[in-house]
């Protein structure tokens, strides 16, 4: 009997790309775990709620009732109105924020002195909570004792029923929302403008391109990825708007400002039907996803 020599076979070497991938997962693991806990769990729980008979009066997940909650909310004649108002509201506010934000960002990009001061002032509305913003504007726009109408009356223009006229209330909420959210768009776009390379502009100037041509053929195309991010983030924010409506109008007058998130709140907390509130929230989530995907595709296709 002979001692068999132990032949050590070398372990197959991992491809560097696999090692990189594994290291990447290790680094991402803590962040992904946190996301799974703070986002994944509530999302799954909300999905369970939306498929169950769980109400505040009978807080039990059993029995599961399938899509019955979705059917119930969609059968409500005011649900589809809320969906439409939400789409209209999101489109108008995002367009307003982007247009105004781009103009201000372009102006600020050319400002040399006191730039930091302008930015500090512009970020004040963004730093305020939407409820505070709503309360402040509610006081300013109070039709009888508010300062805005007082100034209009002093200048010979009659006072306006900002929040009590169904034709005007929607636009008033849009205006207040844009007032608060535009700072975020300005900051993102200003950062994008600051990071654009100088060389294309120098070449364009040598070629005799004017300001408008430079803006149209250089600035806008190069700014597109940053602009897309700003628009998508704001689209998500605006579709979920709740606080301003709650403070300013309660969905009224009539149903003029009855956004879907406020509809969900009323189902959940006034109707005590958390399950139906969760179903509405999932419809809202679906809307946000569809809008985001459609917009993202539009932007990337053009790019």
């Amino acid at each position: 009997m002979t001692n068999a020599a132990v032949i050590e076979t070398p372990k197959p070497k991992r491809h560097p790309r696999d090692r990189w991938r594994a290291t990447g997962w290790k680094f991402a693991a803590p962040g992904l775990s946190m996301i799974a806990i703070v986002m994944g769990f509530p999302l799954v729980y909300a999905l369970l709620l939306s498929l169950s008979s769980f109400t505040l009066l009978k807080p039990k997940l059993q029995p599961f009732i399938g899509l019955e909650n979705f059917r119930a909310v969609m059968a409500d004649e005011y649900f589809w109105h809320s969906v439409w108002v939400t789409i209209e509201y999101s489109a108008v506010t995002v367009m307003g924020e982007f247009t105004l934000g781009l103009v201000i960002a372009l102006v600020l990009n050319r400002v040399v002195r006191l730039k930091a001061v302008y930015f500090a002032i512009l970020t004040v509305p963004m730093a305020m909570s939407p409820v505070s913003v709503g309360l402040i504007w509610h006081m300013l726009l109070q039709p009888n004792l508010g300062i805005v109408n007082r100034l209009l009356e002093l200048s010979g223009i009659g006072g306006v029923d900002w929040l009590g006229d169904p034709e005007i209330a929607f636009w008033t909420v849009v205006f207040v929302d844009i007032w608060q959210q535009v700072s975020f768009v300005i900051l993102i776009l200003a950062a994008g403008l600051a990071s654009l390379p100088k060389e294309p502009y120098e070449a364009a100037e040598v070629d005799g391109a004017g300001d408008l041509q430079q803006f149209w053929y250089l600035t806008l195309p190069m700014l597109r990825p940053v602009a897309a991010i700003a628009i998508i983030i704001q689209l998500i924010n605006e579709t979920r708007t709740y606080d301003l409506v709650y403070v300013l109008t309660r969905g009224g007058p009539g149903i003029a400002t009855d956004l879907l998130s406020y509809f969900a709140y009323r189902r959940a907390f006034l109707g005590l039907s958390i399950n139906e509130g969760a179903a509405v929230s999932f419809v809202l989530l679906l809307m946000v996803l569809v809008l985001t995907v459609v917009f993202f595709r539009l932007v990337t296709r053009r790019a």
Binding site: N144, W162, A169, T249, R250, G252, P253, G254, L270, L272
Partner: protein
């Protein structure tokens, strides 16, 4: 006495002292929190809280919020494992919902244990915010029955009287019917340089409560005597037509987005002839310091037609808390609703729920209008109280707002509101 006996006695005395000290220290550690509506009543009680702490060693903290934010905040606490609020201020609109959900502790055992006397409480208040399905869950805290506050100087103005007579052929006097009231309101807006009515017609609780007065004043009702929905009636349609007419032609600009605060400011500033509101708003408006333009010129009366909206708050105890905190909560409720403290509160303008406070000579001497207030309370009728009262306010409020803005006709709005009530009542069964 031997040294051993002496040391034993000293040791025992020290132990007893330590125990008593610990107990006192523990009582001092006890802190109750209550979520309260930010109204004068809350401030009146808050000023008296040091007396309770002095007597019991228990501290009480009031977290004050505007009414519309209270329901959600309370519900989120009551469905949790442990409520942050120990003593609960419960609106009559939730007096069906909270017990049905099993969030409130039954109070009869506390009443029996402490021999708390329930007899002085006005029976209608006990029905409104006391018992639910024959079980005691709440102790009536204060009432907010609604009436009409109006400007006496404008009603007595000779020039206005003459103009009104010329325009309508009638004498300008306290209105006897709802139609008369709306006519006077519109007249005042046109001729007196003030708004005819300061109206709180924002969608939801404000317009639901306000409209209920119009409904009852015009002989309408939500439910029949046998508990069936009776809202869809000619009286209700007429009441809503008058309500819309007043919003559009008698009220201030922005009535459809106005709340109680807005109407109070307008009336306080002397810029409105009338407001349909809670009776205890009278002393707030009739106050020379805070409302110099209106003080001395306002009075209270029952809604024209004889009935207004009746409402009230009750004290309850959250079930999802320890027995010790429940006991402490009851101590507070028994104290704050005792005759002595209720009279002290009444002297500051409290809206009593005990008949012995309404009849107290000192209270009546200071506030003669408590006589009218008692009439307002006695003649008040109630919004439907059931599991989904809060949701019904929203359903009704939406229809009233749609009618107010001219988007739907009053008859259509009433039909939809009646059908909504019927659906929710069936859901509650």
């Amino acid at each position: 006495m031997t040294r051993q006996m002496l040391s034993t006695m000293l040791a025992s005395a020290s132990a007893v002292a330590l125990l008593l000290g610990a107990q006192a220290a523990h009582a001092e550690d006890l802190k109750l929190t209550a979520l309260m509506e930010d109204v004068p009543e809350t401030h009146i009680i808050e000023a008296l809280l040091p007396e309770f702490t002095k007597a019991t060693g228990i501290t009480v903290e009031f977290q004050k919020l505007a009414y519309p934010d209270m329901h959600q905040k309370l519900v989120t606490q009551l469905i949790s494992n442990k409520s942050a609020y120990n003593v609960l201020e419960v609106d009559f609109l939730w007096a069906g919902e909270f017990p049905e959900a099993g969030w409130l502790a039954e109070l009869q055992p506390f009443v029996d244990k402490t021999n708390f006397d329930l007899k002085p409480f006005i029976p209608s208040m006990m029905d409104l915010v006391g018992r639910h399905k024959d079980t005691l869950y709440l102790i009536p805290m204060y009432n907010y029955s609604m009436g009409l506050i109006y400007r006496t100087d404008l009603l007595a103005d000779a020039k206005l009287k003459e103009a009104y007579k010329k325009e309508t052929g009638k004498d300008l006097a306290l209105p006897a019917t709802l139609a008369d009231y709306v006519a006077i309101s519109k007249f005042m807006k046109k001729n007196a340089g003030v708004e005819g009515a300061a109206m709180q017609s924002q969608r939801g609780d404000p317009n639901s409560m306000e409209f209920s007065n119009y409904l009852f004043a015009n002989g309408g009702q939500y439910l029949s005597a046998d508990g069936h929905v009776a809202l869809d009636s000619p009286e209700a349609v007429k009441a809503l037509e008058l309500y819309v007419d007043n919003i559009q032609h008698g009220a201030q600009k922005g009535a459809l987005s106005a709340t109680l605060d807005d109407t109070f400011r307008l009336m306080c500033d002397g810029k409105a002839f009338s407001m349909v509101t809670y009776w205890w708003m009278l002393p707030q408006i009739d106050n020379k310091e805070s409302c110099p333009n209106a003080a001395g010129k306002v009075a209270l009366t029952v809604m024209p037609g004889g009935h207004g909206e009746s409402g009230g708050w009750g004290w309850g105890i959250a079930k999802n808390q320890s027995a010790e905190l429940q006991d402490a909560s009851w101590k507070f409720i028994a104290w704050v609703q005792s005759k002595e403290i209720s009279i002290k509160r009444a002297m500051q303008g409290h809206a009593p729920t005990r008949s012995d406070v309404f009849e107290d000579a000192g209270v009546l001497a200071k506030y003669p209008y408590y006589k009218q207030a008692l009439e307002v309370v006695a003649s008040g009728m109630s919004f439907p109280i059931f599991t989904y009262s809060a949701q019904y306010e929203d359903v009704l409020g939406r229809q009233l707002s749609l009618a107010g803005s001219g988007d739907v006709k009053p008859a259509t709005a009433i039909k939809a509101a009646a059908s909504g009530l019927d659906e929710l009542m069936k859901k509650a069964q």
